[in-house]
């Protein structure tokens, strides 16, 4: 039996040993550059667990939004997919559903994301490249051919023209005889982060926000199961931000949407439960888990205490996660399978509601079918084989994770104050505040890799001179653009030109006279107005966004 040692003596002893110890030549910080202590103890952990943690399914939801978490239902495995023409992506969807995927997620090409038709001159070279090309209701019908829209949940990653794309989706369901009330899914529709990070916008912030409140109002009444905004940190992080910036800017954007909804007269509890979130899961395992936990706690408190929401569903931050594209390397691409698996595990331990795992070949091209299948199988292995899904918030109470959770919450709070001091989210976009913050972090990160302070296997350590990657890559058929052009010509000759003109005029009027624009877009979709035609009316009436210069 050893004699009990007083805790202060133990600490002194440990400190003494630590001071003497020879340490590895490494940078002991988080991936975001925050210094870490060698060990965390009770004084660093959560001091008020009743107040700040609670239990899963209880305010402030630090430990998860459901009491049973993954015992009730596993996270939704939702692989983002889209390329070429609608019928090609339709085949990939059918493949993914057959492989056991439980939700669909549509990636669009750049012309679609920017509101241009596939036969527009400006779209040359980009049609179907990074996602599927959707220019009309007909394209949307081809995309969902044979897929039961009332049974699958669909996520659509589009922002500038999001209300138009949602109109195509609703119109498509209506044509199939499906009640929009049965539709489940999410439209990203998060324009604020477009100006900050991802850069696919259509019109300036104020009219864009008006369209978003139109979507919230319309869906509350007619498409009640639809998530009307997926407030996204993913692109902020991928553009170079730190974990704290991702957390802070995303939640600041979320609060801005809440203010806008309230300002047009919506009851916060009528629309807040339909807002969801989307975060990155990067390689810093514990910082990411802490970020997800902090996000839930901050949102719950802001919603209840600042915005006066009464419905617990308004307090709950539900989120989708995607593993970090930027963490993947072109060198030794098979290693990306391992990186993605760690990131996926962090997302699950952080309590995500749905997950996309990146494919190993994404630094080279869009993923091949084989690479996508391995990425999906990674999630299935996590869910079925590792036993991690049995216990909610398994890292809750960890001194280290609680300390990181508190630190990230405090850093986010500082940013909220700074954004407010700068006049709010939109003025901070217009003067480039977010853009510059993100850029500075991106350069710092790149420099850290190049100086060897941050190690990346295959890039600055364990490098192989193998003459470059040899895995298969996915190429877009060159006929896609030609076929799309032909399809558009057919559409333009077969539809009723008077109906098109009537609906476009109605949109033009509603831009200024008020009225719900989503309702107008749905009518325009049925009249076979194209994405580009509707977007052009909006560009003419609302003007275009001028990117602030930060370089």
């Amino acid at each position: 039996m050893s004699t009990p040692v007083a805790s202060t003596d133990r600490q002194a002893l440990w400190k003494q040993e630590m001071d003497k110890a020879r340490l590895r030549d490494a940078n002991f910080t988080t991936i975001s550059g925050t210094p870490l202590a060698p060990v965390y103890g009770p004084a660093d952990g959560e001091q008020d667990p009743d107040e700040n943690l609670g239990l899963p399914g209880q305010y402030p939801y630090t430990r998860g939004v459901h009491p049973s978490m993954y015992r009730g239902r596993l996270w939704t495995m939702r692989q983002f997919a889209g390329f070429g023409a609608a019928h090609e992506t339709n085949q990939r969807f059918q493949f993914l559903l057959k492989a056991g995927q439980t939700g669909l997620s549509v990636a669009f090409d750049f012309p679609t994301l920017m509101g241009y038709d596939s036969d527009d001159e400006i779209s040359a070279g980009e049609v179907g490249q990074v996602g599927v090309s959707i220019s009309s209701l007909r394209d949307m019908e081809a995309l969902f051919e044979g897929i039961p829209m009332d049974q699958v949940s669909t996520s659509m990653t589009i922002n500038g023209p999001a209300p138009i794309m949602l109109a195509f989706y609703i119109a498509c369901a209506e044509k199939k005889g499906i009640d929009p009330k049965a539709l489940r899914g999410t439209i990203q529709n998060d324009i604020l982060k477009e100006y900050q990070a991802q850069h696919a916008w259509l019109v300036p912030p104020e009219p864009a926000l008006r369209m978003i409140t139109d979507v919230m109002a319309y869906c509350t009444e007619h498409v009640p199961q639809w998530n009307t905004i997926s407030i996204s940190g993913y692109h902020i992080r991928e553009a170079g931000s730190t974990a704290a910036q991702e957390l802070a800017f995303t939640l600041a954007n979320g609060m801005e949407y809440i203010r806008r909804g309230v300002a047009v007269g919506l009851d916060v509890d009528d629309f807040a439960p339909r807002l969801s979130f989307f975060f990155d899961s990067h390689l810093d395992f514990f910082e990411e888990i802490a970020k997800f936990r902090a996000a839930r706690r901050i949102w719950a408190r802001k919603m209840r205490e600042e915005f006066g929401a009464k419905d617990p569903r308004s307090w709950m931050l539900r989120f989708h996660t995607q593993t970090a594209g930027v963490s993947l390397t072109a060198q030794q691409p098979e290693n990306n399978i391992v990186r993605t698996a760690f990131e996926a595990l962090a997302a699950v331990l952080g309590g995500t509601q749905s997950l996309h795992t990146n494919s190993m070949d994404e630094t080279l091209s869009l993923p091949t079918e084989k690479a996508v299948k391995i990425a999906l199988r990674t999630q299935q292995i996590l869910a079925e084989e590792t036993e991690v899904a049995h216990v909610a918030d398994p890292l809750g109470g960890s001194y280290f994770v609680e300390a990181q959770t508190n630190r990230l919450e405090a850093e986010a709070e500082k940013y909220f104050q700074e954004i407010e001091a700068r006049g709010g989210v939109v003025p901070s976009i217009m003067n480039g505040f977010f853009q510059l913050e993100i850029h500075k972090s991106a350069v710092k990160y790149q420099r850290a890799i190049e100086k060897g302070e941050k190690r990346v296997v295959g890039v600055n350590c364990y490098v192989e001179d193998d003459g470059g990657p040899t895995i298969d890559i996915h190429r877009i058929r060159s006929e896609t653009a030609v076929e799309a052009r032909e399809a558009m010509a057919r559409l333009r000759s077969e539809r009723d030109p008077q109906a098109v003109e009537r609906e476009l005029t109605a949109i033009r009027t509603a831009c200024h006279a008020g009225g719900n624009l989503l309702e107008r877009f749905i009518a325009a979709a049925h009249a076979e107005c194209t994405l580009g035609e509707i977007a052009q009316v909006l560009r003419e009436e609302f003007g275009q966004f001028q990117e602030p210069k930060i370089l």
């Binding site: 070279g125 350069v443 890039v459 370089l551």
Partner: protein
Amino acid sequence: MNQRKIRVLIGKPGLDGHDRGAKTVASVLRDNGMEVIYTGLHKTPAMIAETALQEDVDVVGLSILSGAHMELFPRVREELHNRGLDHVLLVGGGIIPADDMAALESNGFTKLFGPGTHTEDIARFIQGEMEKRWAKEAADA
């Protein structure tokens, strides 16, 4: 030895919004003493070539991560040619498969840089190329 600062235009042709790489490279080249002009996003090939002409640049560096490089990179080269700018050092980067890099490098692009490139290597490459060109100009003069 020519002491003139190297003037670089970093351009983002097409609808692609990914500018992390372009802006990071722009900052690094600037830190290396070059004068760098960044076009901003969503520029047409003609707009980029016109800026290159107006700004009298030595180097044009293009970045595309949208897969449109085989369409838009050669069009920028044509637009530069139309303005008598064949002497401009043309480089590029992005998510570009090896075969496409090789094709572009035999079609007017001096060098393509892929993911994982050390940004100082880009700066060194540009510096080295420009010194070669200036040495040749001096010898020809």
